[in-house]
Symmetry: C2
Subunit: 453 residues, 2 copies
């Protein structure tokens, strides 16, 4: 076989088209994908098991009437506040629209009201959930084979997924008990550079992280920003859970960011409605057309200077064109209804998650008392998740047994380490539990642990 005929047709004319997995993109043969499928499939196979597995928001307050109401509120806002005619308002919500979105101004208001973040509206791109936001940023930053992204480990699996789609290696940085090991961050950045790589950014969730539940303290936040500046790293701050961070919320990284080093990624999936699939990215970084500082004067006048958000918008125009304006309208209506505050909008939800967190802590103390010397768990200030450490391997095989024999589901933490770490840890999600299910589930978990200890 010669070089030139290696790609000759291999099927007979007229025969049924068959593809082979090794001829499809490498992301599709990734073992991580198989393992995620396994998790979903276990949940489907054991529908009666108590689940501490899914990281979904509570359905307690779901109401289809809210959707109707929010849509009408937003439409009314377009006409009364933005001064559009009915025809223009209909066009805004029903026609193709602005790639960056139609609720960017409301998102900016929410960021000011809830987070003390003040950014130009033009720096916001409304996305199809946080997942698309991650993809847009990684696609833009992965410009050569040397570009890599650092990520605090354990990492939300969505980041690894988006990185795989652009063939961008993810290099882990130790998380530890404080949420990030800054010495290791420096070490990893240096090691990457020594290997001829270009670390572009650090991805992390600073508030009640998925999967660990850990939040950075304020000192660590400031220090992280300093290290990121020294190492010339962007910080990709994923802040999907910050609203639920507990009584004493800390300033987000973007709130503390004075030199436009932080790209904020977030989603309204947990704070408004998962079914809208609306998220956003704040990218107020300057991009200059030409390298070097030669034409500083031109740059000062704004010539050849754009926002990173403009470029993310260009990527989005080639990916999804725009985020459903209809879905945006529903989210916009929710923001308008609650004075642009997601904290206000989620009063009931925040109480429910805090109640569940308290029940988890109490329940773990009660049910796991017999194993007090062998198991431990962290006590997050809020969020959806906590970490349980056990003296045995908590892998997929054990999850399967747990589901079948004990009727309780959880997530092996190893899934968030790309397979290399977390073998004796479990992620427990409590966002969807009731007092009864939490008690029952933890009792079942105790039986599993008794069996393994």
């Amino acid at each position: 076989m010669t070089d030139t005929d290696q790609h000759q047709p291999t099927t007979d004319p007229g025969s049924r088209q068959v593809l082979h997995l090794d001829q499809l993109h490498a992301s599709l043969a990734d073992p991580a994908m198989t393992s995620m499928n396994f998790l979903n499939e276990v949940a489907i196979r054991f529908p009666d098991a108590v689940s501490f597995a899914a990281g979904r928001p509570t359905e307690e307050f779901f109401d289809v009437e809210d959707v109707h109401r929010h849509l009408d509120v937003f439409f009314d806002h377009l006409c009364r506040k933005r001064g559009l005619t009915q025809e223009q308002a209909r066009r805004t919500v029903l026609q193709y629209g602005r790639t960056k979105g139609i609720i960017h101004d409301l998102v900016a208001r929410q960021l000011a009201v809830d987070e003390d973040i003040h950014v130009p509206h033009e720096s916001i791109v409304v996305t199809v959930g946080c997942q698309e936001a991650m993809f847009l940023v990684l696609r833009a930053l992965r410009s050569s084979p040397e570009d890599v992204v650092l990520a605090v480990s354990p990492t939300y699996v969505g980041l690894a997924g988006a990185a795989r789609l652009v063939d961008m290696p993810v290099r882990p940085v130790k998380g530890g008990d404080r949420g990030i090991d800054l010495d290791d961050l420096r070490t990893q950045a240096h090691q990457a550079r020594r290997a001829g790589l270009r670390p572009r950014a650090l991805y992390m969730i600073p508030d009640v992280a998925n999967p660990t539940g850990i939040s950075l303290d304020v000192g660590t936040r400031h220090e992280l920003l300093r290290v990121a500046a020294e190492e010339d790293l962007l910080i990709l701050e994923d802040n999907a859970y910050g609203v639920f961070a507990g009584e004493t919320r800390l300033p987000s990284l973007k709130t503390l960011d004075t030199d436009r080093r932080v790209v904020r990624l977030s989603s309204f999936a947990k704070t408004v409605l998962p079914g809208a699939r609306v998220g956003y990215v704040v990218a107020d970084q300057e991009v200059r057309d030409h390298p070097g500082t030669g034409d500083q004067k031109a740059a000062d006048q704004g010539d050849g200077v754009s926002l990173l958000a403009d470029h993310l918008s260009t990527v989005k125009s080639m990916l999804t064109v725009n985020t459903s304006p209809l879905a945006q309208a529903v989210v916009g209506g929710a923001l308008l209804t609650h004075g642009h505050s997601l904290l206000t909008a989620n009063t009931r939800e925040r109480e429910l998650y805090q109640r569940n967190l308290a029940l988890m802590k109490k329940g773990l103390e009660h049910h796991l008392a017999p194993f007090a010397d062998r198991v431990s768990w962290n006590t997050p200030a809020g969020g959806f998740f906590l970490t349980l450490t056990v003296p045995f391997e908590a892998d997929d095989a054990l999850l399967e047994r747990s589901a079948e024999k004990y009727g309780v589901l959880w997530t092996p933490m190893s899934h968030f380490y790309g397979g290399d770490g977390g073998s004796h840890q479990i992620r427990l999600s409590f966002s969807q539990g009731t007092p009864e299910s939490i008690d029952t589930g933890l009792g079942r978990l105790a039986s599993l642990i008794a069996d393994c200890c």
Copy 2:
């Protein structure tokens, strides 16, 4: 400077983060993007110009009440027909959901009713418009640097955009007056292979194409399927306009496909509502885990065999997780309301587009009569577009002059050739015109032509 220090930090600690365009992905510096931005920007700068530029559906029948109604119809369907409880129905529409979508069964019914296409529900992935569908397919197919896609030229710009995001070269195939030059298709496939490349698929729009308005005749469709089989190419059939193809609709490529060679890409943007951003891909191709035909028996039993749709779903899970179920519900309600037929749903729209097409033909004959020996246009059977050929260069500069001096907008056909072709052609869109605007616009176009001839 040595290899190892070339990626040292370049900004001073604490200084404002600045990025440079040459450090972002190549797609962002692509001249095609600049030119698309130019088109959008001209339309914004001259809002009073008559526009034959935008390829958007008519807004004549837009009604926000339809959104409310469709949502309720779908919700009701979930409860009554699918037998879900209210709680389950709420979860389906408002919670995170199935990556492949929640209206796949309704899409399958629509394909059967309108297109005589019969595919398993599992072969359908509901996407964020046709654009995401293109990305999913190209991402899956681009597995090595040799993988390229062929596309009939001139090509819808969205295909080129999606291909750029996965660094996949697009190799043009001549379109000509019949819609595709099959000899050139063979030539291009052979040339690509001789260059060591692997042509994976041919992208085309067989019905009333964007940008030309051309439809393939039935004989050409059959012949194309034969050539694709001989050349072992998938066909990516983009069929966003087929419903509007005119009185005598021809069978789609997927309708004629007997060996699962056609991947169908489509969108409900033109047929239900652009603001929903819902499209889909039909990918019923078999994918085998292991290359070769060694384990034919295992394959016959379905072991290690999946659908291409399953893999597109995996890519989607890393890209947008799922398509807004809320937006899907609105589209689903529309399908249910009209007996799963988009032909029925678009009775008024089809009449309007046909009326506009007739007005265009009549108007061109009338207004361009003085230049009858120097200009020509094609006469599509339907759709949104037609092609006007002129004896002068119709480039961006002329468009600017046309907008400013004559108050009429159109699209230089060169934009659809990647800059290499179509210099003397114009795309005229008539989907949004009224009888008055069409007459006025064509009068203005005649003045421009008089000026140039």
